[in-house]
Structure formats: structure tokens, C-alpha cells
């Protein structure tokens, strides 16, 4: 077990290094730097600026320096506004994380409940209704859903003000972020629940006279949730990176919208900072969900 964990951690670190490498060279390959653009600056000013942020050195040297600073926990300052990158990330991530976390929790809870209801009422009307809406929801991109919600609830019905900073402004972004994963979890739970309900040990439990409630919650659900747990890692990653469009539509200044902005601005340190932060978050979540998966399902051999 320990060997497996160490191996996975090693690969996670390798992945992170690769992401840093790709991002650094990719962003340097985009024509234009952070300082050309806005107002035309004189050559002397450009030279001083480039020297100050050591942009005049070869890319490989810059990369080495960046990695050295990174290992000391220093993400540098934004080339655009001079603010500390890690502080900016922390502030904007707080917003994204709040919405994303609520969306993830809602998706998991409702997905499991709806999936179980569908499986237990197989081919009856609750099953058909749930499957119909789940199929429809998996065909709807989050930005279409978000814009449609905005149209219906803010413009047509005027239930929710378009721009507001109070708690109810989270309702629409959370719905638009959580619907797709919720539908996916519903389908996942339904299939694996049906699978489990057909197993021999469920019949044995029923034959022993175990109550229906106990059969579902103690015997069936625990085993049916294994595929759902593996999906939680990729889902969290998807919700976090996918939030950038939803954030844009609802004009929430989260991390996602920062990421797109800093790419168009060629704000090198911000690009690196946000990429590393989001990527490490995703890599860690994936690693954890993989390990948890192995722990809770003893049938899976460690390899």
C-alpha cells in the first residue's frame, strides 16, 4: 500500500512539473509580452522593464529562476498591476470555491437521492421522469443553462436581480454549475444501484427478512456508491475550471475569469500562478479520490 501511495505521489509531482514546463514555454511562445499593448512605451522604458522582471534572459534561465522561487513558495508579483500573485489567487479563489463547493455538495446529495429513486422504481414513472431530465441536463452546456436561467429568472420573471452581491445571487450560478454533475451522478448511481440490487447478497438479505430500508441503506447503497466516489475527483476539477464561463455570465470575479483575463493580458506570473494553483488542486483531488477508491473497494488490487 505504502509503495503504491508513494508511486502515485511521485507521478503527481511529475505531472505538476510537466504542467509548469508546458505552461511556461507555451505562454512565452505567444507573441507579445506583458508590456507592449496599452500605451506605446519608449525603447528605454521597455528595456528597463524587461530587465527588472528579467524578461531579457533566455526562456530556460527564466524557467529555472521561476522554479527556484516556486520551491520557496514565491509566486512573484503580477506584471500588470504589481500585486502579489498568491494573494490575488487566494482572494478570487475564495469566491470560486464557495460557489464550486456548494455546487459539488448539491450535485452529490441530489444525484445520489434521485439515482436511487430511479433505480428502486425501475420502469415506473419516477424513473422515467428522472432519467428524462438527467438525459436532457447532460446535453446542456453550463453556459447555455446559465444564460437561460438569467433570461427566465432575472429578465422575464424578475425574481432575482441581475446584479447583486447578497447571498441569493449565488442561487443561479450554483444551479448552473451543479446541474450537469448532478445529472451525471444520477445516471451513475442508477446503473450501479441496479447492478447491486441484482446481486445474490441482496437476495440473501431480503430472504433473511431484513427490512427494505436496511437493505437499501446498509447493503445496497454502500456498494453502489463506489463508482460515484471515483467520479467526485474529476467532477470537482470540472466544476472548478468550468466555473469560469458561469462566473463571466454572472459577473462574479472568481479565479476562472482571472485566468482568461491574464492570458489575454500576457501577465506571465499570473498565468503561471493560476495554472499551478488550479492544476495542483485538481491533481491532489484526483490523487485522493484514487486512493480512497482503492481503500473502500477491497476487490481492486493495488498494482
Amino acid at each position: 500500500m505504502l509503495k503504491y501511495v508513494l508511486k502515485r505521489i511521485f507521478y503527481a509531482i511529475l505531472t505538476m512539473f510537466l504542467i509548469c514546463f508546458i505552461t511556461f514555454f507555451a505562454m512565452n511562445a505567444i507573441p507579445g509580452g506583458p508590456f507592449n499593448g496599452e500605451k506605446a512605451k519608449s525603447k528605454a522604458v521597455m528595456k528597463v522593464l524587461n530587465e527588472r522582471y528579467s524578461l531579457d534572459k533566455p526562456v530556460l534561465v527564466q524557467f529555472g529562476n521561476y522554479m527556484k522561487n516556486l520551491l520557496h513558495g514565491d509566486l512573484g508579483v503580477s506584471l500588470k498591476n504589481g500585486r502579489d500573485v498568491s494573494q490575488t489567487i487566494a482572494e478570487s479563489f475564495a469566491v470560486s470555491a464557495k460557489i464550486g463547493l456548494i455546487a459539488v455538495v448539491i450535485a452529490i446529495i441530489f444525484g445520489i437521492i434521485l439515482g436511487s429513486i430511479a433505480a428502486l422504481n425501475r420502469n415506473k414513472w419516477p424513473d422515467r421522469v428522472i432519467v428524462f431530465f438527467a438525459t436532457l441536463a447532460t446535453a446542456m452546456p453550463s453556459f447555455v443553462l446559465a444564460t437561460l436561467l438569467l433570461l427566465v429568472f432575472c429578465i422575464q420573471l424578475k425574481w432575482i436581480p441581475v446584479w447583486s452581491s447578497t447571498s441569493h445571487s449565488y442561487i443561479l450560478p450554483v444551479i448552473s454549475l451543479s446541474l450537469y454533475p448532478m445529472a451525471y451522478i444520477t445516471r451513475l448511481t442508477k446503473t450501479s444501484m441496479l447492478d447491486v440490487l441484482g446481486q445474490d447478497y441482496i437476495r440473501t438479505a431480503r430472504a433473511k427478512g431484513v427490512s427494505q430500508r436496511k437493505v437499501i441503506f446498509v447493503h445496497a447503497l454502500r456498494n453502489a456508491l463506489i463508482p460515484v466516489i471515483t467520479y467526485i475527483g474529476p467532477m470537482t476539477a470540472g466544476v472548478l475550471t468550468g466555473s469560469l464561463v458561469v462566473e463571466k455570465i454572472f459577473t462574479i470575479g472568481g479565479l476562472g475569469s482571472k485566468f482568461v483575463d491574464c492570458i489575454t493580458n500576457r501577465d506571465y506570473t499570473m498565468i503561471m500562478g493560476t495554472t499551478i494553483f488550479l492544476a495542483s488542486f485538481i491533481v491532489v483531488v484526483n490523487l485522493l479520490s484514487d486512493l480512497v477508491y482503492k481503500v473502500i473497494d477491497p476487490r481492486i488490487k493495488l498494482s
Binding site: Y11, I30, T135, V144, T147, L148, I155, A237, L244
Partner: protein, 361 residues
């Protein structure tokens, strides 16, 4: 009962260890009726025929095939019938008509009304017009074309790379497999949307396609999108194909082919791949909607196809600015995306039910 004991007089036939020692006198000839029972009742069928028959029995799959065919037909036919273009302002008698902007469906502008009063014929604006006086129906059809093509091509790229990579890795196994799969693992764990956004910016800005005539027409954005799909999305397919091949290559017929001296290429191509074709088809069909999703997503944040070429994502994005007054402009592309993705999803599910050997009963 043993015959030998019943008739002790009958001489026992010579013992032959390989003979069954059947006594022919104990058999009787089959009647015609019994013979007829042995006839094969159902037609002989191939794997594909059988799967196709099953697919046709699934109403959801048939429905989605009909919807997809209708959409494809619309993509091909409409640009030839409707006299408007996706990028040009509507013209009345060769004169540009700036008054024809933001019309509702089947509404006509002042100039068009005047022309129709004179007895001229105007093709109706089935979905109205946009804020630059362009016919919206044609734009939606072209947007559908772009999104559809991106989806299909991305899926083709994924299948080619994924099958090649996966079959090599799975067939050769050992150290080759380990190294190749570690690469796949790493690409798999990259946060795809971040990398896609970054790479599509990089490719769009750095690659120059103006010299290559075929590619130039597609536009740098489109090509960079295909490149990104080709670089990132094949890993799922490669894993799938490898897993299939690992089990199939243990079969005796592969061993037999190898014993005869068939080369790896021939074994993979003729003996192994036909046996995992169903899995490949199913996952290729499910790859299309996910590519359409990504494309519309990229177009929505302005990293997709280049203007004035529309895609469903960019149309939905443009519609946001006039959402309050012209909500229909969002509804049309949104319905189109949902319809396409839904049909492909249902078709993929239907294909899985029909072709997946594991689900066979």
C-alpha cells in the same frame, strides 16, 4: 443397461481403444419430420447485422438517427436554398438594407415591405435577423455546420491516434506498455480545460497557415482546436483500446496467427482490432458530443472559430448582449446544441446496448 450382459451370446467386437463400439442395429432412421427440425430456423447473421437490427428496435436511437439526418440534410441543403450569406448584410435589389436589423422571425424591414408591395419576392427570415442585419437562420445553420464538423473531425482524430497508440501499447506489453501508459496517465491528469485554453491561444497566435491553401480556408482557430483535441483527448480512447487488446491477445487464434509467423501489424489489424471495433465505435460516438461541448465552450469565451464565421457557442455568446430585447437569438443556437448533443448521446447509448458484447444475453 449394458448390452453385453443382456445378450451374452453376442460376440463382443474386437476391442479398439479409439472406437466407440456402436451397435448400428440399435439405431433407427430419422423421419422427415425429425429431419426438418434440424433445419436452421433463423437466417445466419453477422455481428454487424445483428447489432444493427437491435439498434433499429430501440426507438430512442432511431429517433436520434432521424434527428441527426435531418440536421445533416439541413446543413447541406439550406445554404443553397436561402439567398442570404452568413457574413453579408441583407440586400434588397442589390442595395444594402441596414434597416433589417434585429427583426423577429418572419418579419420584414421597411425596404423589404416596399419591395414586396412592388411585387418583388423576399425570402422570409425564418429566425429573424441579428444586430448587423444578417439573416439569423443562415447563421445558425452555418454555426451548426461548424460545431458539427468540429465534433466529427475531433472524434476521427481521437480514434486514429487512440487506436494506434493503444494497440501498440497493448500488443507489445512489458516495458513498452509501461512507458507508453505512464505518458497517457500524465496527459490524463492534466487539467484539460486550462491546457486547452492556453494551447488554443498559443497555436492561434504562433501557427501560420496562410501558405497552405486547404488549411487556410479553415482558419487558424479551427486548426488549433483540432490540434488541441488531437493532443489531449486521445488518451481515453488509447486506454480503452489497450485494455481490450490486453484481453483479446490472450486468445488462441492470436497465438495461432503468431505461430504461423504473421507480423504484429497483420495480427493487430486483421485479428485483434475487428474484435474490439464495437467498443471503438461506441466511444467514438460519445466523443462527438464532448468535442462539441468543448468547442462551444471555447467559442463562448472568444477562443473558438474566427469571426465572422459563426459557431453555435459564439452565437449563444453574442446573444447575451441583447438578451433583454431579443431572447430568441439565444434560444435558437441553444436548442440546436442541445438537440445535437442529446441525439449523439442517445445514439451512443443505443449503440452500446446493441453492440457491446458484454451486455449480450
Amino acid at each position: 443397461m449394458d448390452t453385453a450382459r443382456k445378450n451374452p451370446d453376442m460376440p463382443l467386437p474386437k476391442k479398439n481403444p479409439l472406437s466407440l463400439q456402436l451397435d448400428l442395429s440399435k439405431f433407427e432412421k430419422a423421419t422427415d419430420e425429425e429431419k426438418r427440425q434440424q433445419d436452421v430456423m433463423s437466417e445466419s447473421t453477422t455481428f454487424l447485422k445483428d447489432g444493427f437490427r437491435k439498434l433499429m428496435k430501440n426507438p430512442l436511437a432511431v429517433g436520434s438517427i432521424i434527428v441527426l439526418l435531418a440536421i445533416i440534410l439541413m446543413m447541406i441543403v439550406v445554404p443553397h436554398i436561402v439567398p442570404y450569406t452568413y457574413s453579408g448584410i441583407i440586400k434588397v435589389e442589390g442595395v444594402k438594407d441596414p434597416g433589417a436589423k434585429n427583426l423577429m422571425p418572419f418579419e420584414y424591414s421597411e425596404m423589404e415591405k416596399a419591395y414586396m408591395a412592388k411585387g418583388g419576392k423576399i425570402f422570409p427570415h425564418i429566425m429573424g435577423t441579428d444586430e448587423l442585419s444578417r439573416d439569423y437562420f443562415v447563421r445558425v445553420v452555418y454555426g451548426t455546420r461548424v460545431s458539427f464538423l468540429v465534433g466529427v473531425f475531433a472524434s476521427v482524430i481521437v480514434v486514429i491516434i487512440g487506436v494506434l497508440y493503444g494497440s501498440i501499447s497493448g500488443y507489445f506489453g512489458g516495458r513498452v506498455d509501461m512507458i507508453m501508459m505512464r505518458i497517457v496517465d500524465i496527459i490524463y491528469s492534466l487539467p484539460d480545460l486550462l491546457v486547452i485554453i492556453l494551447l488554443s491561444v498559443v497555436f492561434r497566435e504562433t501557427l501560420d497557415f496562410s501558405k497552405v491553401p486547404m488549411l487556410q480556408k479553415l482558419g487558424a482557430n479551427m486548426i488549433s482546436m483540432f490540434l488541441v483535441f488531437g493532443l489531449l483527448y486521445w488518451v481515453g480512447m488509447a486506454r480503452l483500446v489497450r485494455g481490450q487488446i490486453l484481453t483479446i491477445k490472450e486468445n488462441e487464434y492470436v497465438l495461432a496467427a503468431r505461430a504461423i509467423g504473421a507480423k504484429p501489424k497483420r495480427i493487430i489489424w486483421n485479428h485483434i482490432l475487428p474484435n474490439c471495433i464495437s467498443v471503438i465505435i461506441i466511444s467514438a460516438a460519445l466523443e462527438i458530443p464532448s468535442a462539441i461541448f468543448t468547442e462551444s465552450y471555447l467559442s463562448f469565451i472568444g477562443l473558438g472559430v474566427a469571426l465572422p464565421m459563426p459557431s453555435l457557442g459564439s452565437l449563444a455568446s453574442d446573444a447575451r448582449s441583447g438578451l433583454q430585447s431579443y431572447p430568441l437569438k439565444l434560444v435558437f443556437p441553444a436548442v440546436m446544441i442541445i438537440l445535437i448533443v442529446l441525439s449523439f448521446n442517445l445514439l451512443g447509448d443505443g449503440l452500446r446496448d446493441a453492440f457491446d458484447p458484454k451486455l449480450r444475453k
